[in-house]
């Protein structure tokens, strides 16, 4: 019982901003419960049936009271909603300069890959005070990446990318779990998150702290890009067959339906696997689907390569 706490240690900016809401809710609901108990006990004793007393039944007409507490409840409920939602907004989109790490869940382990290709299993090394974005997918069933110390969790799905971002605030070692039931060994599918000083992380990335040998993601992605012939359409000058991909990540593009979409990993993935779902305005749905031609791993490399393509002056001119 030493070091007992209601909430676990907090080690991310999100944890710091959300903890007050937990405490508010605990006090609010706890207080409500205590008031209900107190009133029940007090009236329960005070108004119990006694043979010597003749207390006729009470005929309440308390419309005003009813309306009053309804309104108060609605206001409190909406207040809590707004408070929580603002936090949720913040937890949603990562800052642009976030460090990109990819996560792959499979029965029953987490495979993690860093920007330079460094890999690890069931462990996640991240630098402190740096925004980190995880792009996650699963090879089989649904898993869920859960770090209690960060107060964050996100389901990881097959054939889809989900993301989660955080900024760790405290170095140390924190537990990592799989929170979505995924079969027999669900409860062992976890590990540790190491939050390190940036220098230590950089050293670790160079392979000085163990971990598997890095491989060259971008080179692998570039090879795929060539092999699959993407450039046949996505090159400036090819009669505008396909849009230019240079510097596309993070921009907003408009679809034929008028909808605008921010280009992120999930959008890139979808564009490659199911190009006709959303067609970029000004283009015909020519692009073939690459579904079933790419391993999850390859797709990640390809996307990493596309994201690495620098913004070019020509590109912007061309799009205009």
């Amino acid at each position: 019982m030493i070091d007992f706490r209601v909430l676990p240690e907090k080690a991310s900016t999100f944890a710091e901003s959300v903890d007050p809401l937990y405490w508010f809710l605990i006090l609010f609901v706890g207080g409500f419960f205590l008031v209900v108990c107190a009133v029940v006990l007090y009236w329960g004793v005070k108004y119990r049936q006694r043979p010597e007393e003749d207390r006729p039944s009470y005929h309440p007409h308390a419309i005003k009271l009813e309306i009053a507490w309804t309104v108060v409840l609605v206001i409190i409920a909406l207040g809590i909603f707004v408070w929580g939602s603002v936090l949720f907004f913040r937890a949603y989109d990562a800052p642009d300069d976030a460090l990109e790490i990819s996560v792959m869940g499979k029965q029953w382990m987490w495979k993690i890959r860093h920007p330079n290709g460094m890999r690890e299993t069931n462990e996640l090394h991240v630098p402190v005070d740096t925004p980190v974005r995880l792009t996650m997918t699963s090879q089989d069933v649904i898993h869920s990446f859960f770090i209690p110390a960060f107060r964050l969790k996100q389901d990881v799905l097959p054939a889809k990318y989900t993301t989660m971002w955080f900024k760790a605030t405290k170095t140390g070692e924190y537990p990592l779990f799989c929170a979505e039931y995924c079969g027999t060994e669900h409860s062992t599918m976890g590990g540790r998150v190491f939050v390190m000083e940036p220098e230590a992380y950089a050293a670790w990335l160079r392979g000085e702290g163990g971990g598997e040998a890095p491989d060259d993601v971008l080179a692998a992605g570039r090879r795929l890009y060539d092999r699959l012939g993407c450039a046949a359409c996505h090159t400036a000058g090819v009669e505008n067959r396909g849009p230019l991909l240079e510097g596309i990540h993070g921009t907003t593009v408009e679809m034929t339906t008028g909808e605008t979409v921010v280009v992120n990993d999930e959008y890139l993935r979808e564009s490659i696997l199911n190009p006709s779902y959303r067609v970029v305005k000004g283009y015909a749905p020519l692009m073939p689907s690459y579904k079933n031609q790419l391993e999850d791993e390859e797709l990640m490399n390809l996307i990493a390569y596309i994201k690495s393509l620098p913004k070019q002056q020509v590109a912007i001119a061309e799009v205009k």
Partner: protein
């Protein structure tokens, strides 16, 4: 209220229990009261099956390592526990037992509108139940009661198909029961029984039935699609075909969230009856309680996405579901206020059902209140799929619905059987259940806050202490649940005769029908001339 039963306190010579004695007269009975008894027996069996499974895996959770049973066994146990408790126990519990027994009596009808359909519902339920038992003996199922795809469709190698079929079939029993009640309440009310004279129990069942009829078919089809994918190999939620597992979650929760109100609304109906009678008072804010039931039923359809905040659902969808969740909590809170208000200036008698009802109030306040933690997106991210959720739903389902069911059973037992049970034991069991319950599930809130994920066969060592509390509590709780079985059975044989109205309660079932009621419920067709709960404060107990 013109006519009175000939001699209210003498047990009638002929009543629904004894007027025919063969087994067939029970199995093929069209009498809603007998069908209620059939349900009572069958759901009790399932409750104990589900409870014993829980007791078994709670024992496993005594230690952090998985030493008592294999991970696979553990997974099967909690899955079956969830499936059995939800589909075979709690959803039918209050409606099919108390609702079936009481709705016609309360509205002054001879039976439900479609007695044959009523019997058919029980058979459908039993077919589903038999399939469920078959699952149990043919190796079980380990997908969790939520059947999430693609685990259930592709990766699980247990008996998912059979389990899906069991749930599918049972769903139709629920639909037919709801349909029957809706029609009964619409068309069979006694003369003078206007909508605003109806007992709140009826309002609650009306709201419940809407959900049963409109939500259950969706889960039926969703589960059916899972079964097809299982058999056919390709299917509707298969990512390889561009299918989307999240879509299954939408369909599943479109039903399963409203389903939680199928479980709690009838309980709320029971609580209204029990509190009004035991406080010898008019219910505080009758129309607010009545309409809040309907509001819960309707708005309850709009919030299912709160189970999917971290599933990959769009952020804006999550926000919409979150705000609606906050709003659906309001009518429940209103009910709590009105029930507490009913005590004010009453003449309260502390009977066993009243103790259960007060237990309900406290536990439901905690259960519902922790629902707020989960309904807020920002806080649910951390709490989702942890023991906090497990604790939340046991507080509402066991602390809420099961407590209410027991309150109702204790309240109407004299009417159903014509016998009184040992009152002291009744109160004792209410207290044991209350204590055992909190000991079991309160520690789980703390575990969840600390991040212990649910459906975990083994866990981190620092969580052991709280788990020990929880398991010990479960043993106390088990005893608390066993106790009523003992004294109820005892009362069947040795219990004192109850008389028509031992509680001094208002309502047609107490004032116009004998205990046990006659086969056709009333000797004279009742006519209603006053509002529900016209208590004077001077009614006496005769228990």
């Amino acid at each position: 209220m013109a006519t009175v039963v000939t001699d209210p306190n003498a047990a009638p010579a002929v009543h629904y229990l004894n007027w025919r004695k063969t087994v067939a007269s029970w199995l093929f009975s069209l009498d809603h009261k007998r069908i209620a008894i059939l349900y009572l027996i069958s759901i009790s069996v399932f409750f104990f099956v589900g409870g014993l499974l829980a007791a078994a895996f709670r024992l496993e959770l005594l230690t952090p390592e998985g030493d008592l049973m294999q991970a696979d066994t553990y997974n099967r146990y909690f899955t079956l526990h969830g499936v059995v408790m939800i589909f075979f126990f709690l959803i039918p519990s209050i409606p099919a037992v108390l609702g079936n027994f009481l709705i016609p009596l309360m509205i002054g009808a001879k039976d439900v509108a479609f007695p044959k359909l009523n019997l058919a519902s029980w058979y459908v339920y039993m077919i589903g139940g038999t399939l469920g038992v078959l699952v149990l003996v043919t190796g079980g199922v380990d997908t969790g009661w939520t059947f999430y795809s693609p685990l259930s469709t592709t990766y699980a190698n247990t008996n998912v198909f059979l389990a899906a079929m069991a749930a599918f079939v049972t769903g139709f029993s629920s639909i037919l029961t709801g349909l029957n009640f809706l029609v009964t309440i619409h068309t069979m009310r006694a003369p003078g029984l206007t909508w605003f004279r109806l007992p709140l129990f009826i309002w609650a069942h009306y709201a419940t039935s809407i959900i049963q009829v409109l939500a259950t078919p969706v889960v039926a089809i969703a589960i059916f699609l899972i079964a097809i994918e299982r058999v056919w190999g390709v299917g509707v939620f298969d990512p390889a075909l561009g299918g989307d597992p999240i879509l299954f979650q939408h369909l599943f929760w479109f039903y399963s969230h409203p389903a939680v109100y199928i479980m709690i609304l009838p309980g709320m109906g029971v609580i209204s009856e029990v509190i009004a009678c035991n406080a010898r008072n008019r219910i505080f804010g009758y129309p607010f309680i009545a309409f809040s039931s309907v509001a819960i039923a309707i708005v309850g359809f709009l919030v299912w996405g709160h189970h999917m905040f971290v599933s990959g659902q769009a952020m804006y969808s999550s926000l919409v579901f979150s705000v609606l969740t906050m709003l659906v909590a309001v009518p429940s809170a209103i009910k709590i206020f009105n029930w507490v208000g009913t005590l004010y200036r009453g003449n309260i008698v502390w009977t066993a059902p009243m103790l259960y009802a007060m237990g309900f109030l406290g536990l439901f306040a905690i259960g519902g209140g922790t629902g707020l933690f989960l309904g807020v997106t920002g806080t649910d991210i951390h709490l989702h799929d942890t023991y906090f959720v497990v604790a939340h739903f046991h507080y509402v389902m066991v602390g809420g619905a099961v407590m209410a069911y027991l309150a109702g059973l204790h309240f109407w037992w004299p009417k159903i059987t014509g016998r009184l049970y040992n009152h002291l034991l009744g109160k004792l069991s209410a207290i044991i259940v209350f204590i055992g319950f909190n000991a079991t599930f309160f520690p789980q809130f703390l575990l969840g806050m600390q991040g212990m994920p649910r459906r975990y066969h083994s866990y981190r060592e620092e969580w052991q202490l709280l788990n020990i509390f929880s398991t010990s509590g479960a043993m106390i709780l088990g005893i608390g649940f066993l106790l009523p079985v003992l004294y109820f059975t005892w009362s069947l044989v040795f219990g004192r005769r109850a008389g028509a109205n031992p509680w001094g309660a208002k309502g047609l079932e107490w004032e116009k029908a004998s205990s046990p009621p006659s086969p056709h419920n009333f000797d004279h067709d009742p006519v209603v001339t006053e509002e529900a709960y016209a208590y004077t404060g001077r009614e006496q107990l005769s228990v």
